[in-house]
Symmetry: C2
Subunit: 242 residues, 2 copies
Amino acid sequence: MQAQKGRASRGGDGRHKKAAAKARSPAGRRSRGNGAGLSREAIVDAALDLIDREGLDAVSFRRLGEELGCEAMSLYHYLPSKAHLMDAVIDQVIGGLEVPPPGSDWIARVRQAAWNYRAMALGHPRLYPLIAVHRLNTRVGVRKLDQVLGLFREGGFDDATAARLFRDFGYYITGAALDETAGYAKGPSAAEPVSETEIARHCPNLAASAPYFKPQHFEETFRQGLELLLEGMARLRRSKAR
Amino acid sequence: MQAQKGRASRGGDGRHKKAAAKARSPAGRRSRGNGAGLSREAIVDAALDLIDREGLDAVSFRRLGEELGCEAMSLYHYLPSKAHLMDAVIDQVIGGLEVPPPGSDWIARVRQAAWNYRAMALGHPRLYPLIAVHRLNTRVGVRKLDQVLGLFREGGFDDATAARLFRDFGYYITGAALDETAGYAKGPSAAEPVSETEIARHCPNLAASAPYFKPQHFEETFRQGLELLLEGMARLRRSKAR
DNA sequence: GCGGCGCACTTACGGTGTAAGGTTGCGGGA
DNA sequence: TCCCGCAACCTTACACCGTAAGTGCGCCGC
C-alpha cells in the first residue's frame, strides 16, 4: 500500500548464483503437463491439514508448495490469493456442518445445531479462531446461515423476533466455541500467564473457581448456558402465542 | 523458528554507503538523549490510534516508527516484541473497562457490565476481533476477570454454578461484540458478498429477515438475548434458593 | 574532564504475499 | 506430419514484515 516513494531502482547487477537447487525432492515424475497432480481441492485439503497439525501461522504458499511437492507460485493457478484459500478452507468446514432438517420439535433442532457447531469447532481448534472472526460471505456460508435461521422462523415467532433470536443464538455458540478453542492461555499473548501465587493473592474469585474452569467442565458449562437460552426462547414463544 | 542451519557468517565487509538519509522529515529536534520523546505509553497510544484509524494490518514497527518520528528498531527499547505491544494495547483498553462495584442488585450489575463491555468493543471495532481471540493473561486482564466473576459469586450461587454462569455470560457478550465489530461483510474474506438476487433466490429466510440485520437493530438484538440470559439466571437463582 | 550508560540508529537475515514473465509438453486443427 | 495454443508449472523480483546484532551520540554523576 501507499506506493511508498517508488524506488524503481532496477539494478539488475547480475550475481546470479546459478542455484545449486536441483533434483527437487518428492513427486519424482514431473511430466509437466499434468505432473504434480495439483488441484484446488488438494490444496485446500493440504491447507486444512496443515492448520490442524501446526496452526494458522504455519500456512504460507511456500510451505504449502513444499507440502504438495510444487513451487509456491503454482498454487496461484488454482487460487487467486491467500485470502481466497482461507475462504475455501473455511467453506469446506462450514459446508460439513449439519443442520437438523425440518421437523416437529424446533427447540430440539436448535439444540442439536448448537452441539453440532461446537463439535465442528472442537474438531478444528486451531482453525476456529479464524472462523469466528471471518464472516460467511460465500455461497456455502450464506446458505448455512439460511438453514439455521429457518429453524427459528419455524418456531413461530414474528420475523423480527426470529431474526433477533437467531443472532443471539449465534452470539452464544460462537463465543463458546471461541473460548473453548482459543481459551485462557491458548490465544496469542506474549506475556506468560500470571503466576498461580499472584492469582491466589489478588484474585480470590478466580482462585476459588479455578477447578471449574478446567476442560472437563466445558461441556457442562456449554450445556447450562445453552439450556438457559433455549428455555428463555421457549418461554418467549409461549408468552407470544398466548 | 526452527534454527534453520545457523549461517553465522559475520562478514562485516564494510561498504558503508554512509546513507543519504538525512534530516528525517518530522520531529525536527532530535537531540538524541531524550529527543523523540519516546515512551512505552506513547507507543501504545500510537498503536491503538493507528488501529482505530486503519485497522490491525496497518500496525508494524516500521509504520509506528514513522508515526512517532523514529526508527522501527528504537521501539524495541520499550517493548520486547510486537506480541508484547499488542498485549499492552489490549491491556489499555481492557483496563478502562468499568465493572460495577459491589452493591445490592447483582443482576443489574451484571447487566451494566455487559453494556460496558459492548461499548468498549464498539469504541474500538477494528481492534476488537483481536481482543476476542486474545486471552487475558496479563495482570490487568486476570484482575478484570476476577471482578466480573465476583458479580456472579455475589449472586449467591454455589461455586460451580457461579463459575459456569460467568463463562456463559462471557460467551454471549464476546460473541455479540465479535459479530457487531467483525460482522457480515466486515471480517476478512476475499469473496465479495453473495449478490442480493442470489440470496433472494436461494435463501428465503435470510431475505425475509434482512431488514432486522441492519445496524439499527443491533442494540435491541443485544438487549433481547442479554435479558433472556439474565432472566434465566435469576430463575435459576430462585429455584436454588428455594 | 571523563566514563558509563541510556536511547536511538544502522545493517542484515530469513521470512511473507504476489506481480510478471518464462518454460514445458500435450491436444488438436491444418 | 507439423505446429500452434494453452494449461500447468517454475523463476525471478519486489516491497514489506519481525527482529538479532552491532554502532554511536549526548547527557549524567563523578
